[in-house]
């Protein structure tokens, strides 16, 4: 074993000990699929008006992430990968000015930092993993899109059992909605005037409600996320809607709110299947439309 004779027996003992050491590891094929999903060239990057230059044009799988792309405010560009023979180099340089770096606990920041990738890449990962069952099970990511933080996990998250309203949510007359919020409010013509409406969080969120449990939330989609959604398989599915790509979350899932002041996660309720998208500077989530097709139809009438 060792060239140091006095320790040969100890070396042999250590080698034997190695057989008794348990190190858990995931199924190798899952790891391989997850890695592959991250390396696949982008093939289906949505054209989102507020996410400039998200299309990765290179056909080579190892194309570096665009480092000068603003993407969304949350998806800060990742540093180019360092050479593997530089052990001292930091994997992720600090991103000064990232609002959430100040308000999130360190553990969450670290996790976010590790998975932070330019939006285009992550969207592509989702598009690809949606097609491969193994990738779906293995890849984990946090996606910021349209003012929503999607926490993509490997298994179905625990449901929220106690519904909570949005912070400061109060009813307003549907006709007054546009005067109570900080951005232009639209109404989907497919649904017409809502039965009721609410404004939440000091005019940051406008919500409309129709018969049959249909609900549309509109919020400033360019800032840090307002909502988070914890999602297990099946993963979000991309749906083209009037020139932008929306994402369909086909199952019920825990919905929460991220407080402006300190980024605290507030669980809200178990949301039904939801379509999320962004148009201009506003993020939208349409819940309760039932099917992906119906949701896309309704969304399209809002975009016009």
């Amino acid at each position: 074993m060792s060239s140091h004779d006095p320790f040969d027996d100890l070396a042999a003992e250590l080698t034997a000990l190695a057989d008794f050491l348990d190190v858990p590891y995931p199924p190798p094929n899952d790891v391989a699929s997850a890695v592959r999903a991250r390396l696949e060239p982008t093939r289906d990057t949505p054209a989102i008006s507020d996410t400039p230059a998200t299309r990765e044009t290179s056909a080579t799988p190892d194309a570096p992430e665009p480092s000068d792309t603003p993407a969304t405010p949350e998806a800060a560009p990742e540093a180019p990968p360092e050479a593997p023979d530089v052990p001292g180099a930091r994997r992720h340089p600090p991103a000064p000015g990232r609002r959430d770096d100040e308000r999130r606990p360190p553990a969450q920041r670290r996790r976010r930092a590790r998975w932070r990738i330019v939006t285009a890449i992550i969207l592509a990962v989702i598009a690809i993993t949606a097609a491969t069952p193994q990738g779906r099970a293995a890849v984990r990511a946090i996606l910021h899109y349209a003012g929503i933080e999607l926490r993509l996990g490997e298994s179905t998250p625990e449901p929220v059992t106690t519904p909570t309203p949005l912070p400061g949510e109060h009813a307003v007359a549907p006709a007054d909605l546009s005067t109570q919020v900080r951005f232009p409010v639209k109404t989907p013509t497919a649904l017409g005037t809502p039965q009721r409406a609410t404004v939440s969080d000091n005019g940051r969120v406008a919500s409309m409600f129709w018969q049959g449990g249909i609900r549309l939330d509109q919020f400033d989609g360019t800032l840090s996320p307002y909502f988070f959604k914890s999602v297990g398989p099946p993963w979000p599915e991309d749906v083209p809607v009037g020139g932008v790509t929306a994402w369909w979350l086909g199952g019920e899932h825990p919905l929460g709110y991220l407080k402006r002041q300190d980024g605290t996660s507030v669980p809200l309720r178990q949301a039904q299947a939801t379509l999320i998208w962004q148009s201009g500077t506003v993020g939208y989530r349409l819940e309760g439309a039932g099917t992906k097709e119906r949701a896309a139809e309704i969304a399209a009438t809002l975009l016009q």
């Binding site: 074993m1 060792s2 060239s3 140091h4 006095p6 320790f7 027996d9 100890l10 070396a11 003992e13 250590l14 080698t15 034997a16 000990l17 190695a18 008794f20 050491l21 348990d22 190190v23 858990p24 590891y25 995931p26 190798p28 094929n29 790891v31 391989a32 699929s33 997850a34 890695v35 592959r36 991250r38 390396l39 696949e40 080579t60 799988p61 190892d62 570096p64 990968p81 050479a83 593997p84 023979d85 530089v86 052990p87 180099a89 930091r90 994997r91 670290r110 590790r114």
Partner: protein, 179 residues
Amino acid sequence: MDDDEAIGRSLAGDLSAYEALVARYSALAHRTAAMLGAGDEAEDVVQEAFVKAFRHLSTFRRDAPFRPWLLRIVANETHNLTRSRGRRSELAVRLSATAEIKAPDDPEGSAVATDRRARLLEAVRHLPERERQAVVCRYFLQLTEAETAQVLDWPLGTVKSSTHRGLARLREEVGNELA
């Protein structure tokens, strides 16, 4: 498909070939990351390492073995993680439960051996970091001295001396008796 063929095809853009390579080395990569201190984040470290390895595959010398080259990237990722956590890396392993049933005819001797293994593992855990890394690479991961030098990015002499000091310290801690 051997490593060289898989690497050649991966370089040509065949992701299925790389997938096969990842699957082949996945368990070893997890073991390495966990033993060098990645703890419960070993999975993240390993995935990141495989992604980086692919992106740097063109720098891999085809006449050299793939295993230590890959494990060096895993070790780097682990090092970056433990450094960013700002604390000492830990040896994230536990003694297998199956250790108890190795010698059913000799329960007393088996218990002694189990106790001995537990003590030895504890002693390894408490070695100074560099000595522990050397011992882990040489004996738990069963790398050669040259491979250990490559994986840890140390001079060969440092591997030899750290291993030697680690063994000497272990001898002091747990004594001579063999399991």
